[in-house]
């Protein structure tokens, strides 16, 4: 056998060469790719779609889209931005009919966003029934999905039609990747007080339909918290009785803790005492916070959920209605000026190179419609910005127009929230530990100065015409 092994004694050099060659090839190819990847722009390029084993991939041809027309008239090819209205203001019935027909032909809309994995969602089923279009979801936190989209766009791979998120990511991380939102049929009368709690047209500068309000609301489990212990003021939360009973989402994976800390601050009118109270409550060593989900509240692992999110206010009715659980209750601090004291927005944005651009438009419009919001509120314990929907959940704790007076939801606000997230205040405070002074400094740095110098103006209530004019600026 020894003679058989002899030839390999000469192989030392080939192996070394092979290893070095492999490394060189990797470096060269990665270097080439670095120069080849295009930067994403808000002006979409014309593309041709190609199906690849469940993946639709488009390759840029370098041509720019001109006007609103595509190969089939008004509607557009896959990989382009949705068509704007021909009159520049809002879609006519005839135009919308063409879009709807093209959308049905596309058959699918792919949404990135943390809807939850709604395989059983009444929302998906209702949308399919109403439009014939299949809504497919890719779950994940908005920022992770935003990174994913950016990677895809750099490689000229276009998979996502829409993204559902909290607006700040879309306005910051995804700036340049989203298509302009024009006035669709459901938005033609956005200031009708019989239909809307708050105006669904967010801002011409934010490419998002406003669908899902968040409010700072306190929910308690009455099995855990006796009536004489119900907190009456925010500072009551630091009663030792509540140690380990106050639930908070994980700040490592959710923005809710950040928005909660800031939401209460804004909702209570930016009082100075809040900074100390918040530190006493949320800091890691205090022992009040139990990281968990709303399920932990429902099951009694925790007793209090002082959160800023749309689900919280609807929790008692939702669980009572769907599972017969009646030991949840929403309470209000005496310091709160209104029941729903502040708001951030969640909604749907359309990508400017959507593989199903017409279906993306139809989905965005339907989501905000009466049917869409009805299905939405039946599928999840959420509120709606519509008043005219049929839902098993009472609307006592849904947003009121006054609630939105604190923050002007525009790019300034979005930039501010991005600053907050970048500071990771909630993560450092709740999980890693943070000194009182560092917490206060961080809060002041990103918020106090901003709001004291530039008091938030009343939120604009756009009419369709005003919205259109804003887009032109």
């Amino acid at each position: 056998m020894a003679s058989r092994r002899q030839p390999w004694t000469t192989l030392r050099r080939p192996w070394t060469t092979l290893l070095l060659t492999m490394l060189a090839v990797i470096v060269v190819l990665a270097g080439c790719a670095g120069g080849a990847a295009p930067a994403a722009t808000s002006q979409p390029a014309a593309n041709t779609g190609a199906k690849v084993s469940g993946a639709s991939s488009s390759t840029s041809s370098g041509a720019t889209q001109s006007g609103a027309t595509g190969a089939s008239g008004f509607v557009v090819e896959p990989g382009k931005a949705p068509p704007p209205p021909s009159n520049g203001k809002n879609y006519s019935d005839a135009e919308w009919a063409k879009i709807a027909a093209a959308a049905k032909k596309e058959g699918t809309v792919v949404q990135y966003g943390n809807f939850g994995a709604d395989y059983d969602s009444k929302l998906v089923a209702a949308f399919k029934q109403a439009t014939g279009i299949s809504l497919q979801l890719v779950s994940g936190t908005t920022n992770v999905l935003a990174e994913r989209v950016k990677n895809e766009y750099r490689a000229n791979v276009y998979q996502a039609d829409t993204i559902y998120g909290q607006g700040s990511i879309e306005a910051g991380e995804l700036k340049g990747y989203l298509a302009r939102i024009d006035v669709m049929p459901e938005f033609r009368n956005p200031i009708d007080p019989k239909v809307w709690y708050v105006n669904p047209l967010v801002s011409p500068t934010i490419y998002q339909t406003y669908a899902f309000p968040h409010c700072a609301i306190m929910t308690i489990n009455t099995n855990v918290i006796p009536p004489d212990k119900y907190p009456k003021k925010f500072q009551d939360l630091t009663d030792p009785f509540f140690k380990g009973k106050i639930q908070m989402d994980d700040p490592a994976t959710s923005i809710t803790p950040d928005t909660t800390i800031w939401g209460w601050y804004a909702g209570l009118g930016f009082p100075d005492w809040y900074l100390d109270a918040a530190y006493d409550l949320y800091n890691k060593d205090a022992g009040f916070i139990q990281i968990g989900t709303e399920r932990d509240l429902v099951r009694g692992l925790t007793g209090l959920l002082p959160a800023m999110r749309g689900t919280t206010g609807a929790l008692p009715e939702f669980y009572a209605e769907t599972q017969g659980i009646k030991n949840l209750k929403v309470i209000q601090f005496s310091q709160q000026p209104v029941a729903c004291s502040s708001t951030i927005m969640m909604g749907v944005s359309v990508f400017n190179k959507a593989p199903h651009p017409n279906a993306a438009l139809v989905w965005s419009d339907w989501f905000i419609s009466k049917d869409g919001q009805t299905a939405w509120t039946q599928a999840r314990p959420v509120g709606s910005i519509r008043k005219d929907i049929s839902s098993p959940i009472k609307q006592a704790y849904w947003p009121v127009p006054e609630a939105t007076q604190y923050w002007n939801i525009d790019m300034d606000w979005m930039n501010f929230m991005n600053e907050v997230f970048a500071k990771k205040i909630a993560f450092n405070l709740i999980k890693q530990g943070m000194s009182r002074q560092a917490f206060k400094d961080a809060m002041k740095q990103v918020s106090m100065d901003h709001f004291k110098q530039f008091p938030p103006p009343p939120r604009k209530m756009y009419s369709a015409d005003q919205f259109y004019k804003g887009m032109q600026q």
């Binding site: 056998m1 030839p7 390999w8 000469t10 192989l11 030392r12 080939p14 092979l18 060659t21 492999m22 490394l23 090839v25 990797i26 470096v27 990665a30 080439c32 790719a33 670095g34 080849a36 990847a37 930067a39 690849v52 469940g54 993946a55 991939s57 792919v110 939850g116 994995a117 395989y119 059983d120 497919q136 779950s139 936190t141 920022n143 990174e147 990677n151 895809e152 750099r154 490689a155 000229n156 791979v157 998979q159 991380e173 490592a252 994976t253 890691k284 990281i291 709303e294 399920r295 429902v298 009694g300 692992l301 599972q323 017969g324 659980i325 997230f421 990771k424 993560f427 999980k431 890693q432």
Partner: protein
């Protein structure tokens, strides 16, 4: 012979490229802070911040603090388990082999969710029972703790270890143990002085692999630890990548630090194994006689039964229960079949099931072929560069799976032009899980080959058999248990792989593991339970078939020997 062995070079070159390419992306990202094409500036910020970040150092210490006891306890537990099941006359021995295989195939994520329902703080069902029976406000045990992570890991490691070392125990020549007993050694002395030393390569290999696996694992740590502020390396990196904005430089730089530790472990492994002979299957034939434990066989039976009940039946029963509850673990809520109706009335669930099966079959077959050939080249040939195969095989463990996943995405989307056509396809997923499984897959095959004396092949060649015939008639039958184990592990790894796939799937190619994770993440535990149970059933079905095939192959082998 020379031409054939040279023919392995291109295959090894491809392997090297595939494993090094994403790793290069990780290293690139640690200095640049983004994928190729983002034109980010070169910076050492990630490294300087990582070394001074108290939370990162804390996560590193926690990683080691958890990995060391888990590996030690898991190894001791698994060796005893494997010895009882394969080398003794414990009652129901044949059934236990099957049951241990079955337990390997219990997917980690659904099982962990079950443990949370059972022991999750004051609302844990067992804890509630404890407090009710003993009229106390103190709970029995909170699974969401360091101890809980260790407990679940040891429980799951028992069967996982068995998967690796079981074939080696089974194939060991009993004559050596008998010689020891003839010389007056007792059962435990024989186990300690003969059996364990003989199986050192398999045990050490499995322990090392599990250590690296635990360094890079994150599902159990995420579910049980992250909400309690217990961060290991992987979950901390996950938090960095999930933060707003995504902190790529820190995540990638921390991964580079991780590589240093992995390299140290691999060097230790090479030193420990260097120059040792561990052949237990030779041309002289070997006996397969069992050790008679006498009355102690019932103690052994109780040990294995206890493991089965606690590690398998309890969480699985909880999982089954969860599929029929409107709120898992809440007995005041109503019972229902709705979860099942909705799951299997939905096309996306059926699609994900189909994707899962397809991915599992494709990846497992690919894995067993590639790993087998690479291991053969490494262990059974005298290629001068075969050390490179072994070295490359560790590369996928050089960075945590989550970071390697980002490296793969960057490599596919921002790297070589044209390969983005693979993005989102099951083919890319199969390649990715193939790469991820190399360390484990190669070790299984290596453990099988290292015990196989070359004299068997040489005898066949002397008798005039060609190389393919020698492989078919001699080598493959002898390594049949290894082949089956490798295929099954490949299948399990492919269908339960989460981290690598969640970055590259699309709705049309979503697999069940991703679906379960999304449902857990959305707090839809009952639906996660339905899909988790379905995934478990699929695993068991395949395991039963594979076990049947393995049984037939062993029967044929024993008939041949007779």
């Amino acid at each position: 012979m020379r031409v054939r062995e040279y023919a392995l070079l291109p295959a090894i070159a491809v392997l090297g490229f595939l494993v090094l390419y994403p790793l290069f992306m990780v290293i690139y990202g640690s200095f640049v802070g983004g994928p190729p094409g983002t034109h980010a500036a070169f910076s050492l910020q990630g490294y300087t911040h990582s070394w001074t970040d108290a939370a990162a150092i804390n996560a590193l210490m926690t990683t080691f603090g958890l990995a060391i006891p888990r590996v030690f306890l898991g190894t001791c537990f698994a060796v005893v388990l494997a010895w009882i099941v394969t080398r003794t006359n414990v009652p129901m021995r044949g059934a236990w082999e099957m049951i241990l295989w079955f337990m390997v195939f219990l997917p980690a994520l659904p099982m962990t969710l079950s443990w949370v329902i059972l022991f999750g703080g004051k609302v844990g069902l067992v804890n509630q029972l404890w407090m009710s029976v003993f009229h106390t406000t103190d709970i029995l045990f909170d699974i969401r703790s360091m101890e809980g992570i260790i407990f679940i890991s040891v429980i799951s490691m028992g069967s996982f270890f068995y998967f690796f070392i079981g074939p080696a125990f089974r194939n060991m020549d009993a004559s050596m143990e008998e010689s020891a007993r003839v010389c007056g050694a007792g059962h435990l002395t024989t186990l300690r002085r003969i059996t364990v030393p003989l199986l050192t390569p398999a045990i050490l290999g499995a322990a090392l692999l599990v250590f690296l696996f635990l360094m890079g694992s994150y599902e159990i740590e995420l579910v049980l630890g992250s909400r309690q502020g217990i961060y290991v390396f992987t979950t901390y990196i996950w938090s960095l990548m999930g933060s707003t904005p995504t902190d790529y430089p820190d995540a990638m730089a921390m991964s580079s630090i991780f590589m240093v530790f992995v390299a140290i472990v691999i060097v230790i492994q090479a030193k420990v194994w260097g120059g040792r002979q561990f052949i237990t299957v030779t041309g002289r034939g070997f006996g397969y006689r069992l050790t008679d434990l006498g009355r102690w066989r019932w103690a052994a039976f109780a040990f294995v039964m206890g493991y089965f009940l606690i590690g398998g039946i309890l969480p699985l029963g909880t999982l089954i229960m969860g599929t029929f509850q409107t709120m898992w673990g809440n007995f005041s809520a109503s019972w229902t079949l709705d979860q099942w109706h909705r799951a299997f009335g939905d096309s996306s669930v059926l699609q994900s099931l189909e994707n899962t099966i397809y991915l599992g079959l494709m990846a497992a077959t690919l894995k067993v072929t590639v790993y087998g050939l690479l291991s053969y080249a490494s262990m059974r040939t005298k290629l001068k560069g075969r050390w490179l195969i072994d070295a490359l095989s560790w590369v996928p463990r050089a960075a945590p799976g989550i970071v390697m996943a980002v490296g793969v995405v960057w490599g596919v989307l921002g790297g070589i032009p044209g390969i983005n056509i693979l993005y989102g396809t099951l083919y890319l997923m199969a390649i990715v899980v193939l790469l991820d499984g190399i360390p484990a897959g190669m070790r299984i095959w290596n453990a099988g080959f290292v015990q196989l004396s070359s004299e068997l092949e040489e005898a066949a060649r002397v008798c005039g058999a060609s190389w393919p015939r020698t492989m078919w008639k001699v080598v493959l039958p002898l390594v049949a248990p290894t082949l089956i184990s490798s295929w099954l592990l490949g299948f399990l790894g492919a269908i339960s792989s989460l981290v690598l796939i969640m970055f590259i799937y699309l709705p049309a190619t979503r697999v069940m593991a991703v679906y379960i994770f999304e449902l857990w993440n959305s707090d839809k535990l009952e639906q996660a339970a339905v899909l988790g149970l379905t995934l478990t059933a699929l695993c068991l079905f395949v395991a039963v078939i594979a076990q049947y095939v393995a049984h037939r192959m062993r029967q044929n082998l024993e008939e041949t020997r007779a």
